[in-house]
């Protein structure tokens, strides 16, 4: 399953584009050499070509075995050993899709490589009796419907894990599952009888069983709609929509507008709701109670829905409390299954390359003057961060091929180390100073901001499709001279790098024109040579900060691209958009290297892990997913937010993740254990910016409510003991300590905080557009 990415992107109606399964290509071995060489092949979209595995792995022997060959081989199991059977079913579905789209060559390749020839037939027979008997029939629908039935039958063994990622087969197939129905007039009776039952059970069970309300409600409503019982559906909605948890309001608003079968077909979010089974976690006792009740009452309608559309993750032990449930629920897809977050994640940092730092005498003297104790401290710090030991939790150094360090990168690293010795140690007693970069006269609407790591450049994306780059230092921005002029330069001279710059073009800011829609994301490359911007026009563009021109336009999303982010080592970048997938790109490839599919709604923000081996995405479906760059697997799935996620930040040590959403809350996650470990309440509006201080002691959050808040992240991490028990069960008790953790709240004047950045010395930079209204 993980070997290729599922076809989940919407097919745009405007452009006829072929989509085929992306065969996962091994990542390039030595990308650094080709880094800037992006004048590759023409950008035609050729489906046939695309599906061919690009075997580029010349020296990737270090890659993990199953991908080293660069071809499809047995898929690594996603979580806790997903049954192979399921994978194959999905494979078949894909095959059908390819066939239907006359992509015969791809079909052949896929069949050959997945060794499916034999299994295909037998597989179809595995379906639980339903459907027609013919094997690999030309009618895709019939086959697929069998596949979906087959998977629908699986919940009989609800305890056996089911693959995380359900494929999304054809629309009509999805909906056909709703065709089996009971008497529509009895739906209200069914639902209210269950409701009465749940309300009558013991308190400890009630909270758990109440989780059933929302998914049942939605499925029953959709069934009624699907079967053209419009009035009954409306009555049903009227009667029971009030019972749902407040954090489902947004969904309900969408639902209540949807009353026709035709409308249902066009609504991807609800189709996804249907295909991805809503996950509930219920203790065994509560589950038994429910089961007994439904069987006694012969409430088959409900039982069927539970069996077919819900995934009940049963655990042994005490039922969870209401607050425990509330902290984890709220997503569009239910909760996380326990086994999903069991996969090993190498969250440690990569070993820093050993670079001799030439000791600068001046610096030393200056430090002596400042005072000895300080010097001692900082020295220790720098030692700590430069630890030569391999972090046990770190991935192998070359798990993901990374570009080689250039001389300029080494220089920059030295600069970084020097700066970090002067870094201010932050803490509750020692809060950072805040500099606010206000964008004035931003009538065209500031939509995205980024700083370079050394805080020397500042980029803004605007709703008028422009990207503007400012110099945050007195040094002005200059372009490289034209080719003709460059020819005249003495290339042997020492200051050739200075000479190639055109002094006439020096200015404080540069405008980059090229997009044809609002620019929703900007990201600097770590070496400050490139800038990425993602826009509503469906493209991601790579700009050169030497020439201030556009180098590449990466097309692939075809829908608005909400966010993009460069890998901390450069070369790779990730983007996510309205097509509900995140894509991993390399700057010198016009096709994505990986497609991370699984979110049920738009991918709103994307971030690279500090070790570049993982990518995290937040979505409008109110979930967060951590993806393994190596194999494209979703290795962590976090639920708990009650609104679309708009900001994400990794702690500098890579162990923790912070996420902010429209609900005004920041949630903290332990990546290693896959647990929520903190909830920071206080903001009153969407949190658009999150950043950890350089040492991770402070978390800064910036919001639409015109405030920056500082949180004691150290305390938050320390307070939460992730003992084995909580790690095993995933049941967390969140202390309500937001007020203790809040170290400061800082107001800006009518300026929503769009971006936050800690300088290398731990000065906090905030940016936003002044809003005169």
């Amino acid at each position: 399953m993980c070997l290729w990415c599922r076809i989940r992107q919407k097919i745009p109606k405007k452009k006829k584009t072929y989509y085929a399964a992306h065969v996962m290509t091994p990542l390039l071995s030595a990308p650094g050499k080709k880094m800037a060489a992006v004048q590759d092949a023409p950008m035609e979209l050729d489906a046939e070509k695309e599906t061919k595995p690009e075997i580029l792995s010349d020296g990737t022997s270090n890659l993990s075995g199953n991908t080293a060959s660069g071809t499809l081989s047995s898929p690594p199991l996603t979580a806790g050993g997903a049954p192979k059977q399921e994978d194959q079913q999905t494979l078949i579905a894909v095959l059908q899709f390819l066939r239907r789209n006359k992509l015969t060559e791809s079909v052949e390749i896929l069949r050959r490589e997945a060794c499916l020839e034999d299994q295909e037939d037998s597989q179809t027979l595995d379906g639980s009796g339903g459907g027609k008997g013919d094997g690999d029939g030309g009618d895709a629908n019939s086959l697929l419907s069998r596949v979906s039935i087959a998977s629908a039958a699986a919940p009989q063994s609800t305890l056996t894990p089911i693959p995380v990622k359900n494929d999304q087969p054809d629309v009509s197939v999805v909906l056909s599952a709703y065709s089996q129905q009971g008497d529509p007039s009895l739906y209200q009776v069914y639902y209210s009888s269950l409701k009465n039952f749940i309300e009558s059970v013991l308190d400890c069970h009630r909270a758990e069983l109440s989780q059933l309300f929302y998914p049942l409600f939605v499925h029953m409503y959709l069934e009624l709609v699907y079967n053209n019982h419009e009035n009954k559906a409306k009555a049903f909605f009227e009667k029971f929509s009030g019972d749902q948890e407040c954090y489902y309001q947004d969904d309900l608003r969408i639902l209540c507008g949807l009353t026709k079968k035709e409308h249902l077909k066009g609504n991807e979010a609800l189709l996804d709701f249907r295909t991805s089974r809503f996950v509930l976690r219920i203790s065994r006792d509560s589950y038994q109670l429910l089961k007994r009740h439904l069987q006694e009452r012969h409430n088959n309608q409900i039982w069927n829905i539970i069996q077919e559309h819900l995934y009940i993750d049963i655990f042994d032990g005490m039922p969870r409390s209401k607050s425990q449930i509330d902290s984890m629920s709220g997503s569009f897809a239910g909760e996380t299954r326990r086994e999903v977050n069991k996969a090993k994640v190498f969250y440690g940092l990569l070993k820093e390359p050993e670079i001799e730092v030439p000791l600068d005498d001046e610096d030393d003297e200056a430090e002596n003057e400042e005072g000895k104790p300080k010097k001692k401290k900082t020295k220790k710090d720098s030692m700590g961060s430069k630890s030569k030991k391999q972090d046990p939790n770190a991935p192998q150094q070359n798990r993901i091929p990374l570009p080689e360090l250039k001389d300029s990168d080494k220089l920059d690293k030295i600069m970084y180390m020097k700066e970090s010795t002067k870094r201010i140690r932050l803490g509750p007693e020692n809060l950072p100073s805040i500099c606010f970069y206000s964008f004035l006269n931003a009538y065209q609407g500031l939509t995205a901001v980024d700083f370079t790591d050394d805080s020397s450049l500042l980029a803004g994306g605007f709703a008028d499709s422009t990207v503007r780059v400012w110099s945050a230092t007195p040094k002005k921005l200059r372009k490289v001279k034209s080719a003709a002029e460059l020819n005249l330069i003495d290339k042997e001279s020492d200051d050739v790098l200075e000479r190639i710059m055109d002094e006439k073009t020096a200015s404080e800011s540069k405008n980059l024109y090229g997009h044809s829609g609002p620019v929703y994301g900007v990201s600097f490359s770590p070496d400050r040579n490139y800038l990425l911007s993602s826009s509503e026009d469906g493209t991601v563009r790579l700009w050169s900060l030497q020439t201030f021109t556009c180098l590449v336009g990466y097309k692939g999303h075809n829908y608005p691209v909400w966010d993009t982010h460069f890998s901390p080592f450069g070369y790779y970048f990730v983007s996510g958009g309205h097509d509900r997938v995140a894509r991993l790109w390399a700057t010198d490839h016009y096709q994505p290297l990986r497609i991370f599919a699984g979110h049920l709604a738009d991918v709103t923000c994307t971030r690279f892990h500090p070790n570049s081996n993982y990518v995290v995405t937040g979505s409008t479906d109110r979930t967060i997913r951590l993806w393994d760059v190596l194999n494209g697997n979703c290795v962590r799935f976090f639920t708990g937010h009650k609104g679309p996620i708009h900001s994400l930040a990794f702690s500098p040590n890579g162990k923790f993740l912070a996420s902010g959403s429209t609900d005004g809350r920041v949630l903290l996650w332990d990546i290693g254990h896959g647990l929520m470990i903190g909830e920071l309440k206080g903001h009153t509006d969407t949190i658009y910016a999150l950043k950890f201080s350089r040492d991770g002691e402070i978390l800064a959050s910036g919001s639409m409510d015109n405030t920056v808040r500082l949180w004691d992240s150290m305390k938050a991490f320390d307070d939460m003991e992730t003992d084995d028990f909580t790690a095993a069960t995933g049941h967390i008790h969140l202390p309500d300590n937001s007020q203790e953790l809040l170290l400061g709240m800082y107001h800006s004047k009518s300026t929503p905080v769009t971006h936050l950045h800690f300088t290398r010395r731990n000065l906090l930079l905030a940016a936003g557009a002044y809003n005169s209204q």
């Binding site: 009227e238 507008g257 100073s433 006269n441 500031l446 503007r468 309205h578 708009h646 004047k749």
Partner: protein
């Protein structure tokens, strides 16, 4: 179909809906005939699509990091669902949406534009300014910068949400929309702003729930600035910076009395800086004026310690100014008179208080006070030792009344010779001549409690005082009257700072002041002053102070406040004077304006003060 209508009814409650009639109309307008059924289906679908588009558009809004859904957002959603976009509604301003009374029709107003006029218009709109980035350090080490540009001081951060809103409103009320105001110096050209700032300081000081702590020092320094500095506003003689200085001085003393204990050595620091200004002949007269007023506000002991010893030296300078009758000197001379008046007031009170203190000491703390004495007097007895320099506070009741009378009708009571301080008096008299004595005579009787010795003459003289002929004044103060003609501004006569507690007495005085200020010439003391007001002030004077109920309605609430506060602590007496007690706020500001204690001449500023005062105070 009945069920359908019932359904649409229900739906109408949930969303706005496009009725099928509209659909039919639209179809007809494009030449298509639709059956009822088709129209109904279409209407429903259109509604759904619209809702869908709206929901999608909200995503564009969120990603643009806005709160307001724009037409552009909806257009993007439409574009992505392959629908034609709506053109012509991209303007940022809200479009007026009007109903048509006949028929339930709503439409966007679309005025005709005269293109010729537009093309020939001379007011060509300027292009919008270049987008730029400005950086400022908002918070240093997590603490608010003292000059919060576009940010809120840290002290505010701890406030709850409600308080924060309140804070924002207050700052807006005080600062207007100008964020640069926090610095006094930057606004020294704008008296209004300075006034507002001072009022803000006052309300800060008055707020009993506020612990100012170390902020007192900075407050004092900014108030001192207003008192002493030659403000940019002073350049224009039309600016009434005198009032500002008076008010600031008052405020200074108030801060000092109420919060002086928070900062050690404050008193001496203030005195020193005042002294420095006073002894610096290079400083402009307005600074000197400020120093004198400041000293006066700090109490007679301050006057005695600083002003009195400096007087001989200073007098020479002042005299030189006053004696120069050249036209070019007119303005300076006017200022000189101002200073003269201020010194006079200060010195007179000094004399009075000194006399009083002596007599009181002799009498044993006013043991012999008759029950009929004023609250002010009785208060004075109780409190002498309470706060470090208590006297000035007890004095005020006399202050205003006396100066009013003095300003009005100079009374020739210079014959009075204080037993206790003849030397001082002699010296002062040598400077001021007749104009000095006025205060004595009128003041003391009011002070009540006349000790046998000095009192007797006073009692006797009271009569003449009340009938004081205006002529006297003109005779005794030739310089003043002359100067008045030069500039209406200058109020050479000792128009006193607003010793608040004696507000009752101020009432008539205020009206008097106003009437006089409105008259262009200085003749207020003699001819133009309406006899009514003079006599009124005289008549009311003794009565008004004690019997609360009968005095003018608004004025009296004041006095009550004054007295009660006074009992508790002397230091508070000032406060009472300008802190409008709650009932006051209900009075119309205009009425209040008359009662506001003011130094110097007040015409417009009074009202403005009160207004701003009100705006500040009401929320508190």
């Amino acid at each position: 179909s009945s069920s359908q209508s019932g359904m649409t009814e229900r739906e109408e409650r949930r969303f706005a809906e496009v009725p099928r009639e509209s659909i039919k109309l639209m179809a007809e307008s494009s030449g298509v005939e639709l059956s009822e059924e088709v129209a109904a289906l279409l209407a429903e679908d259109v509604c759904y699509r619209l809702r869908e588009a709206t929901q999608n558009s909200s995503q564009f809004m969120r990603h643009a990091k806005r709160r307001k859904l724009s037409v552009e957002d909806l257009n993007r959603a439409l574009r992505w669902s392959n629908t034609e976009t709506i053109c012509g509604y991209g303007a940022q301003d809200a479009l007026p949406f009007r109903p048509l009374k006949e028929g339930e029709l709503f439409f966007v107003e679309d005025r005709e534009i005269n293109l010729v006029e537009l093309a020939l218009a001379t007011n060509i709109p300027k292009g919008c300014a270049e987008t730029m980035v400005r950086v400022h350090v908002s918070y240093l080490d997590g603490k608010g910068n003292l000059e919060p540009q576009g940010t809120v001081p840290t002290a505010v951060q701890s406030l709850s949400e409600d308080l924060l809103k309140y804070y924002q409103q207050i700052t807006r009320a005080i600062l207007g929309e100008d964020p640069h105001l926090m610095k006094v110096k930057s606004v020294s050209h704008d008296l209004d702003q300075l006034n507002r700032l001072l009022h803000m300081v006052k309300s800060l000081v008055q707020n009993p729930y506020l612990y100012l702590g170390s902020y007192v020092r900075s407050l004092v320094s900014s108030v001192m600035y207003c008192i002493l500095e030659p403000l940019a506003a002073s350049i224009n003689p039309l600016n009434d910076h005198w009032t500002l200085r008076d008010y600031a001085a008052l405020l200074l003393s108030h801060i000092f009395w109420t919060h002086g204990d928070l900062v050690s050595g404050l008193y001496h620091q203030i005195l020193l800086s005042l002294q420095k200004v006073l002894s610096d002949p290079v400083r402009p007269l307005c600074s000197h004026y400020g120093a004198v007023v400041g000293l006066h506000a700090l109490g007679w002991k301050a006057v005695e310690r600083v002003l009195y010893p400096h007087l001989p030296a200073y007098w020479a300078n002042l005299q030189a100014v006053l004696d120069d009758y050249s036209v070019s000197n007119a303005q300076v001379k006017a200022d000189g008179h101002k200073v003269y008046g201020a010194i006079l007031v200060a010195v007179e009170r000094l004399l009075k208080m000194k006399a009083l203190s002596l007599t009181l000491a002799a009498e044993g703390s006013g043991a012999g006070l008759p029950g009929t004495t004023t609250g002010a007097v009785s208060f004075r007895e109780n409190s002498p030792g309470l706060s470090p320099p208590p006297e000035p506070l007890s004095e005020p009741p006399l202050g205003i009344a006396s100066h009013l009378q003095a300003g009005g009708a100079g009374c020739p009571w210079e014959e009075w010779t204080p037993v206790s301080l003849p030397a001082m008096y002699c010296e002062l008299y040598s400077f001021f001549g007749d104009s000095l004595a006025v205060r004595f005579s009128t003041g003391l009787p009011l002070g009540g409690v006349p000790p046998p010795g000095p009192c007797q003459p006073l009692e006797g003289r009271k009569e003449p005082a009340s009938s004081a002929p205006n002529l006297e004044n003109t005779r005794k103060m030739p310089q003043l009257t002359a100067s008045m003609n030069i500039s209406p501004r200058q109020d050479g006569s000792p128009r006193m700072e607003p010793q608040p507690p004696s507000l009752a007495a101020t009432v008539p005085g205020r009206s008097l002041a106003r009437s006089s200020s409105s008259s262009v010439s200085r003749s207020r003391s003699s001819s133009s002053r309406p006899g009514r007001s003079t006599s009124q002030s005289r008549d009311i004077f003794p009565k008004a102070r004690f019997p609360l109920p009968q005095a003018g309605p608004p004025a009296f609430s004041f006095i009550i406040g004054g007295r009660q506060m006074g009992r508790r602590c002397q230091g508070r007496r000032f406060q009472t004077s300008f802190s409008p007690t709650p009932p006051l706020t209900t009075h119309p500001p205009r009425a209040y304006a008359h009662k506001l204690p003011v130094i110097g001449r007040v015409s417009k500023p009074v009202r403005r003060w009160t207004c701003s005062h009100y705006s500040l105070h009401l929320p508190l």
